[in-house]
């Protein structure tokens, strides 16, 4: 492959990165890099580094690369070359400017979506390598401001959005009251020990999108599910600490989540429509703690809706009439294998489903995932311009009739919203629960 060319345009200014690199010395940097490489990585990193033949076959997988006229700067292997390889080659002796660039590449030009791992003949997981870079960036204190603030929120409140201890149960009680105007006997049972299911969400729901909790409460009520939501810490399943490389906070979050479910003696945890949280509870957070698998079964909302529909526990009154297209969130489809169930749910709900191409585990990332959207406004255009291929994919689906875009993931939702808006695509974006809530049979209002 060719050498990476310099990225066009001025690099965004980020207060977290700028303040982080000021005062860093080459010695400090080398010490942190070598400490992480020597003590925290093992055979996996060595195998990846030794195996890669620099063939560049992974390039065609990456939406950043494809959206930037195949600029090698954005190719998966190019990102490793500009960051980790150089750190290894120089035995950690790189300067602050290098670290700044590495922080920008690892945090804002890679969604950790793992699409490239499918294209590498050796299955090299570039996302893992970018996470090693992010761990180094964390240890150096150079994490971008917005996502660092989110990690701080996690560390204090065990949720993503600084939601305070009282605000959480208060919000649930407010949503319960709202929903009781529609179904007078509806409950959002708080801290109900021995319920079958604990439902957990991410903090943007109580903060900005409380209607999603309302909708799920209605679905749970109609389906007659014995469920609960915790009134204590542990209700939030999200995890930006996983993406800042703050593994210790990631572990604390997941421990709190699973121990809360255990305190409530539930059989399963059902989680809302979120992708990165699934990766955290199902793969990364649990394993950092020593659990090979989730200690309490963890069911993504797609899977749960599929179960309710196929068991007839919720019934469709009238299918959603508008043609829909589906975005496959990387973490639950490529990472969690829920692609077919997502389609079965979509077909059960909607008259017409227009497939995007490529799809299922080959779908392009939304470019918001992997914590990129959480790096905030300074990098908004990095991810939007870095995903022109997604815009083309969406536009093609629209041309074939799609009017609504279903995406069962919060980050995808927000990221695709920006893409739809920027490229003027004109698709309405919905969660599955938005549609289910509209079309299921509900008890008649009294």
């Amino acid at each position: 492959m060719s050498e990476p060319v310099k990225q066009e345009g001025a690099q965004a200014l980020d207060e977290g990165i700028e303040a982080g690199i000021s005062g860093l010395t080459t010695e400090q940097i080398a010490s942190v890099i070598n400490e992480v490489i020597d003590n925290e990585t093992g055979a996996r990193l060595k195998t990846y580094v030794d195996t890669c033949v620099h063939c560049g076959l992974c390039s065609e997988a990456c939406h950043f690369y494809l959206s930037h006229e195949k600029d090698p700067h954005y190719s998966p292997v190019g990102k490793v070359k500009q960051t980790l390889w150089e750190m290894l080659r120089k035995k950690g002796r790189v300067g602050p400017a290098f670290i700044k660039n590495a922080a920008i590449i690892a945090h804002t030009e890679c969604n950790l979506c793992k699409r490239c791992a499918q294209y590498c003949p050796f299955g090299i997981d570039i996302a893992y390598l970018m996470l090693v870079v992010r761990r180094i960036i964390h240890k150096l204190g150079v994490t971008p401001l917005y996502i660092q603030d989110t990690a701080h929120s996690h560390s204090v409140t065990m949720n993503q959005m600084w939601v305070k201890g009282d605000e959480w149960p208060d919000t649930l009680q407010w949503q319960e009251e709202e929903a009781q105007t529609e179904i007078p006997t509806l409950r959002i049972p708080l801290d109900k020990e021995g319920a079958d299911i604990m439902y957990s969400v991410i903090a943007p729901e109580p903060k900005f999108q409380a209607q999603l909790i309302y909708q799920m409460a209605v679905i749970m009520d109609v389906a007659g599910v014995n469920w609960t939501m915790p009134a204590t810490l542990g209700w939030d399943n999200s995890d930006m600490a996983m993406y800042t490389g703050d593994n210790e906070i990631m572990g604390r979050l997941k421990r709190t989540h699973y121990e809360t479910a255990q305190r409530l003696r539930v059989k399963r945890i059902v989680m809302g429509e979120c992708g990165h949280a699934f990766r955290s509870v199902y793969d990364m957070g649990n394993r950092w703690l020593g659990w090979k698998m989730p200690p309490i079964p963890m069911v993504h909302a797609i899977d749960f809706y599929h179960e309710l529909l196929s068991q007839g526990r919720i019934k469709i009154k009238q299918k959603y009439p508008e043609p829909v297209t589906l975005h496959d969130p990387c973490n639950v489809v490529r990472g969690g294998g829920l692609g077919e169930k997502l389609r079965e749910v979509a077909h059960a709900m909607c008259e017409t489903v227009v497939e995007m191409h490529p799809n299922r585990e080959h779908n392009y990332c939304c470019s918001a995932g992997g914590g990129v959207i959480n790096c905030g406004p300074p990098f908004k255009m990095t991810r939007v311009n870095g995903n022109r291929v997604k815009a083309e994919q969406l536009f093609a689906a629209k041309t074939r009739g799609a009017k609504t875009l279903i995406t069962p993931c919060h980050n995808c939702h927000s990221g695709l919203h920006d893409i739809v808006e920027h490229f003027g695509i004109g698709l309405e974006i919905k969660f599955i629960s938005d549609i289910l809530y509209e079309i299921i049979e509900k008890p008649e209002a009294t």
């Binding site: 204090v156 009680q173 409950r187 049972p189 204590t232 003696r265 059989k267 020593g290």
Partner: protein
């Protein structure tokens, strides 16, 4: 749990037809049984947005706009969090505290049930409230909470420096500390978690993060000299002000006492340490290998390990025996002194030792049916709901509280009924 001497321990059965309550109320929420089993209570909807609590078929005289978190205290009093005219407080046996707040949550109860505390918010300021008495000091945020074992003191992790969302550099300087009875430590930390108050109520310990990377335990505002890459919540050695906590170094977990390593081996994971009542033994949940879990007693893990989860470690009162729950695949098992009972369950509740520590009982559930198991023998009752079994003071009888065919049932049975 051991029952009171004054309770009715006659071999008998008492019933309350809770399934009839539905006719009197809009709806009846999940029931709770009193420790002595004599009463059963549930939150009931009496009119639109009007709630009360029904006890043995009779509702409290008062109603509230909202009632939640109904629980019996160990001394038999019945508590709930209630709201009226937009203000929140706790009510005990239907009598609300005089002090009212913008919100109350996270109730804490002392072992004897005499002390009942909640976290409270008023005008976006936070404090603890013990038996209706709020702290004099309030804070901009309050996260982790504790009540002393003696029930006389409360503590919380509190925010003492303002840092608006997004002020990451200010936050990193330390904006949190811990407060005992409202008195905040002078030292501040990036984070404060997992608090514990000493048995005498005088000393407070907490997990702290000093910067983004260094974790340790702070006691009364002074951090241990040693730092670690992570720590979990501290506990006090019974009868002392000595603090023990799980600590992580070089990717492995062990226990430390006052900053010094206590056990000579380390684990992939170690948490929830617990002392025997006499303080002579120390146990913890450990993972000796990735994905394998068990209990370690004084540093030595049980030979038998489990794939999914180990929880609810309990010492016998003499400190000589140890029981826990373990999950392998989808089933839970009871494990006593490292030996696994033969029965497996969809769910199990903490094991209970008899007063002479010879017998172990637990509430269990399989496919939605609850039952009691004693020394690995399953009882005959198939219940819709159940509460933890309680031994009589002489250890010969068991109080079993359950719901069967919609009827609450208080049963006293001889322990020998469960024996071969």
């Amino acid at each position: 749990m051991k029952g009171g001497r004054e309770w009715d321990w006659e071999i008998s059965e008492k019933r309350v037809a809770i399934n009839e309550w539905g006719t009197s109320f809009g709806w009846v929420e999940e029931p709770y049984a009193s420790p002595d089993g004599e009463t059963v209570a549930a939150i009931v909807n009496v009119a639109e947005m009007e709630f009360s609590v029904c006890v043995n078929g009779k509702a409290w005289d008062v109603t509230f706009d909202k009632v939640w978190h109904l629980r019996y205290l160990p001394d038999g009093r019945l508590t709930a969090l209630v709201s009226e005219m937009g203000e929140w407080t706790a009510a005990i046996d239907g009598i609300a505290w005089d002090s009212k707040f913008g919100y109350v949550w996270n109730p804490l109860v002392s072992e004897d049930g005499q002390a009942f505390a909640v976290a409270a918010q008023q005008d976006m300021q936070y404090c603890m409230v013990l038996n209706g008495e709020p702290w004099n000091e309030t804070f901009a945020n309050m996260t982790y909470f504790a009540l002393s074992p003696c029930g006389t003191k409360t503590a919380a992790a509190v925010q003492v420096e303002n840092a608006a969302s997004g002020e990451i550099h200010k936050f990193k300087k330390g904006t949190f500390t811990a407060a005992l009875e409202g008195k905040a430590w002078e030292s501040t930390y990036v984070n404060v978690w997992g608090l514990a108050i000493s048995p005498d109520g005088e000393s407070l310990a907490a997990e702290v993060r000093q910067d983004l990377y260094d974790y340790t335990i702070a006691v009364d505002g002074k951090a241990w000299d040693t730092t670690f890459s992570c720590v979990w919540e501290p506990i006090f050695r019974p009868g002392t002000r000595t603090v023990v906590a799980p600590v992580r170094t070089k990717g492995q977990w062990t226990l430390a006492e006052n900053g010094n390593t206590l056990w000579d081996r380390s684990f992939v994971q170690l948490w929830q340490p617990i002392f025997s009542p006499d303080g002579n033994h120390l146990a913890a949940i450990v993972a000796p290998a990735f994905g394998r879990w068990t209990v370690a007693l004084d540093g030595v893990p049980w030979a038998k390990t489990f794939g999914d989860m180990v929880t609810d470690v309990v010492f016998s009162s003499d400190g000589k025996r140890l029981a826990a729950l373990a999950k392998e695949g989808r089933f839970w098992k009871v494990v006593v002194d490292g030996k696994v009972w033969s029965h497996k369950f969809d769910m199990a509740w903490p094991p209970v030792f008899s007063p002479d520590n010879e017998t172990v009982a637990a509430k269990v559930e399989t496919e939605g049916t609850y039952a009691f198991v004693v020394n690995d023998r399953l009882g005959p009752h198939a219940c819709e709901a159940a509460w933890d079994p309680v031994f009589s003071p002489d250890g010969n009888r068991l109080l079993l509280r359950s719901i069967e065919d919609g009827v609450y049932c208080r049963r006293v049975v001889p322990v020998s009924d469960f024996m071969p």
